[in-house]
Symmetry: C2
Subunit: 194 residues, 2 copies
Amino acid sequence: MKALEDKIRTEGSLLPGAVLKVSSFLNHQIDADFMMQMGREFAAKFGDTGVSKILTIESSGIPLAFAAGAALHVPVLFAKKHLSSNVTGMLYQTLVHSYTHGSDYTVVVEREYLHPDDRVLIIDDFLANGNAIEGMLDLIAQAGAETVGVGVAVEKGFQEGGTMLRARGLRVEPLAYITKMDEDGIEFGQPDFE
Amino acid sequence: MKALEDKIRTEGSLLPGAVLKVSSFLNHQIDADFMMQMGREFAAKFGDTGVSKILTIESSGIPLAFAAGAALHVPVLFAKKHLSSNVTGMLYQTLVHSYTHGSDYTVVVEREYLHPDDRVLIIDDFLANGNAIEGMLDLIAQAGAETVGVGVAVEKGFQEGGTMLRARGLRVEPLAYITKMDEDGIEFGQPDFE
């Protein structure tokens, strides 16, 4: 998605540890109109998969997942990191390691919102090592539901997550695929298999 | 908003401690089309205020804030509960007490996304004691920006938050205003001042 590449080039910045900061429009401040545009892009890519539900993990995946849900007219479920007093039902839960926060955390979804007949599209803002997405795949498997694909705003192609997911036959669609980022700038490309 | 009252009646359930569970459409699973409809409702209510930015707190306020941002075509900023490696700028921060989680937490926004000339609409899913909204008001005040109003999906009119905020002259608009909820059911009404 050319518009996303342009926005990353103009508004993104590189932080130590291969962290790409896109807080001006993607995961702290949200450019609402642009986010809706990305949601429609996912709808175009995955509209033929019979998706019945979108799954993401709080917090930074929520706006993008919601934009995709609005474009596809399907419910959006977000896995929660914290057990709160309004999470009461039977749960599916899994452990995710966060490189960004440097810690493990448990995420949960209530069983009543994920069914064996669901066809689930996973949406997240970033795909790097793939840990968050592995966690969501585990939740979907526990429910006996089917994963129809994985859509991310930005894939860091120089990390192994996307390669591992595709090797297992998953359809993984980034809106922007970064092949290299360093002090010289950010380079975009396409995943090898395409 | 009659449609929201109906949805709370049919899909909501009461949990101990005056917790209203609406996880099927508002804050765990999200009914994307209905959320967009609520966003347009806020746009209709606050469209005349010159709002330049929407502020919420992660996580459960994000979808509603984003829906309002999409309808008003303004950026959405969400205060973060955790310092992560991609929060790098100078921060505004404040302390919020959560009754739901039974603990205090710090929320932050990066200063570069909240300016003295911003006209800020606060959006959240629930208004009960008003602590989260007090926190957001503090962040806005630190930035020297102006608060044009507060929009919430559900106000628990039997708790003191809304009364306190209105007493300070703030425009507070709930889409559903609950006057009473107990084992006999949920009763809706309107804030006294209207």
